[in-house]
Symmetry: C2
Subunit: 398 residues, 2 copies
């Protein structure tokens, strides 16, 4: 079974490509390396030293004998993506090839527009490519739990049965996203739903929670296979960021009251969830949504867990309280359903002291690579600029 991983050089994409390759799928990667470019723009780097994609796939082949062909290009370029489809003709397509950081989308007008155009046009191209070159191909698209926002009712998986004025219908779950990035994913979801209905495509939208961890069974096989670990304010996900902060004695950056509740998952569950989706395709014309996370925590709970485990290995950790750079509820109801992936076989890796300890030890091992200037949140939701000015350069200079 041929699986094309778009964005296969990124954090989740690389781990997924290796995992699927080891499970016996014929995996190909497409990537334009924009994730690495944004590190240059922001003046930061992965905590872990990652290798060139050529070195990565060569190491994988040396270790396992399995080849992963690489297509270099941009999914917003129709000539590129149609060439990839005409060449590889995938049975399933895992689409990670989007800009994925809320703060990046809030820097200024240019970054907001870039985020929405990049993500929406890339996904439109993917939909047309599937329709015209591989109509049986199952699109597995990475969405985000952030599409839902924090409604005062239970969050369902993509759709909700609404009873209203004596009638009822099952309709798309209402979306209240909290950044131009999260909005781009909502736009994608509507576009994909429409194409499934209109063209008979089949798609799974994985509304993923916040991913933590960096190690998977595959990436530990060789130093050249190491996965990225983002700790900066822009691309770092919260638990990984806290571990890096603990390693260098930086007070953990809790925003506002810290009662923001989100769904979280281990990166080892990310790769398994994608596999489960691929192994259980939807029917022709079906657009389905899985909420892809395993546990809910508040930000303050996570900070406290990191602090406790950091102390055990001799680190001194304070919990900082910062004015919230985002516009969001800091204490709210949150109860999101996440049973569909469990029903088809997911056995979660719950957040444990041993995982936290191992993550902290990775952060300590590479702490010489941490730039303390890249930690504090500087991108302010209320102050998104229209054009970048010279005096704003510090935002991007780290």
């Amino acid at each position: 079974m041929k699986v094309l991983v778009l964005g296969g050089d990124g954090y989740c994409g690389w781990a997924t490509a290796l995992y699927l390759s080891r499970q016996g799928f014929d995996v190909a990667i497409a990537d334009n390396f924009c994730r690495r470019l944004w590190d240059y723009e922001l003046g930061v780097q992965s905590l872990t030293p990652i290798k060139l994609l050529e070195q990565r796939v060569a190491a994988w082949q040396a270790l396992t004998g399995r080849k992963i062909p690489v297509f270099k290009g941009d999914v917003t370029n129709w000539h590129f993506i149609s060439m990839v489809f005409a060449t590889f003709v995938p049975d399933a397509l895992v689409h990670f090839a989007e800009m994925r950081a809320a703060p990046y989308s809030m820097i200024d007008r240019e970054h907001a527009v870039f985020t929405q155009v990049n993500n929406v046009v890339g996904t439109l191209n993917v939909l047309f490519a599937v329709k015209d070159f591989a109509p049986q191909c199952h699109l597995v698209k990475l969405g985000t739990m952030g599409e839902y926002g924090t409604p005062n009712i239970d969050i369902e998986e993509g759709f909700i049965e609404i009873h209203h004025n004596g009638r009822s219908d099952v309709l798309p779950y209402p979306k209240s996203p909290g950044s131009f990035y999260h909005l781009s994913k909502v736009h994608d979801s509507h576009n994909i739903m429409f194409c499934c209905k209109t063209w008979g495509l089949k798609a799974t939208d994985l509304n993923q929670g916040v991913v933590y961890g960096t190690v998977t069974e595959e990436t530990v096989g060789h130093e050249d296979l190491i996965n990225r670990f983002d700790y900066d304010e822009v691309f770092g996900t919260v638990l990984n960021r806290f571990c890096a902060q603990a390693a260098v004695g930086y007070p953990l950056t809790v925003y506002g009251r810290g009662g923001q509740t989100r769904g979280f998952l281990d990166i080892r569950d990310t790769v398994r969830c994608v596999e489960l989706a691929v192994l259980h395709p939807p029917a022709e014309g079906e657009y389905r949504v899985f909420n892809q996370f395993t546990e809910q925590f508040t930000v303050l709970q996570l900070a406290e867990m990191v602090r406790q485990n950091a102390v055990k290995i001799g680190l001194k950790v304070e919990i900082g309280r910062l004015p919230n750079p985002r516009v969001e509820a800091e204490e709210h109801y949150y109860n999101a359903r996440h049973t569909k992936l469990v029903e088809i076989g997911l056995k979660p890796h719950y957040l444990s002291d041993s995982l936290l300890e191992s993550l902290l030890k990775i952060a300590v091992k590479y702490k010489h690579r941490i730039d303390r200037n890249a930690i504090a949140p500087r991108i302010q939701w209320r102050k998104t600029k229209n054009v970048r000015r010279d005096e704003d350069e510090h935002v991007l200079a780290g």
Copy 2:
């Protein structure tokens, strides 16, 4: 009070600009003339002979003494829209500057991508311009009733109170749009809602039904003020199209079973609704939605009404039944609330025999300008191309 009308050279925009000018608002128009460009691309023209925008505003000034300054440019160009805002600094902004035809967005991949990028980026630019140059400015944005689709429950105005598992919340009404164009409006709605919440902007989203008519009190003042009347399959709205078809003896193009129910309104109500929204701005940070239509009809009901009135003035009319080029329910529940505009003062012009007769007479007067080849639906929802090929040229050649 200064009102900027974006897209003020178009069908609704021109009528609105004149109406608001006559009510005493200081009106300016911005337009890039893309609507006229698309006529060239499609090989069609307005049934009514419209003048250059220069001639239009000159005639208006000669007739009324009122000046309407014109800014020529594209709202997707930040330099243009920021220059307009820095120069004019509007108190209210009426945003008609979007590609507005569902079939146009379904021609091929390029038109789908163009539609979404054009509409989404234009609206993002408008939001940033308001935030940075005129934060008190009230954004009046044209949405569409087509954002809702045809749910099996009553359609509310923008938001719905949902009771679920013993809890409740008021959330954005779920959207099920039926074309890449309608999807672009859903994307806009989410973006605007977010900017109101995050930046404290105030916006009214007018989810407009299908507009009919061409004459307003202002446009009849002089031949140079005449408004456009689109009868072609792409930009023609259904009632206007049927009148043009009746004028040339072309069987009325009912798609499928004809039970598609939609909300409709007279263009004289469009201009009044915009004025009412402008006169009653929302609070700071408020995003509100008005459903802007006055009556519901099925397509078949409209065809029958056109037929009856056409016969009265001596025209021979048949009702044609065509395979539906769209993917949509052809018989369905439809009950959409539309009370908010009435509550602030709208007195609807309901569809009457006299309006139909006058519309038919306009169609007969200009029937020598009708190209029968531009009437039949050729753009097929299920067959949206990825790239236009030579053999598809007929789609655009009319």
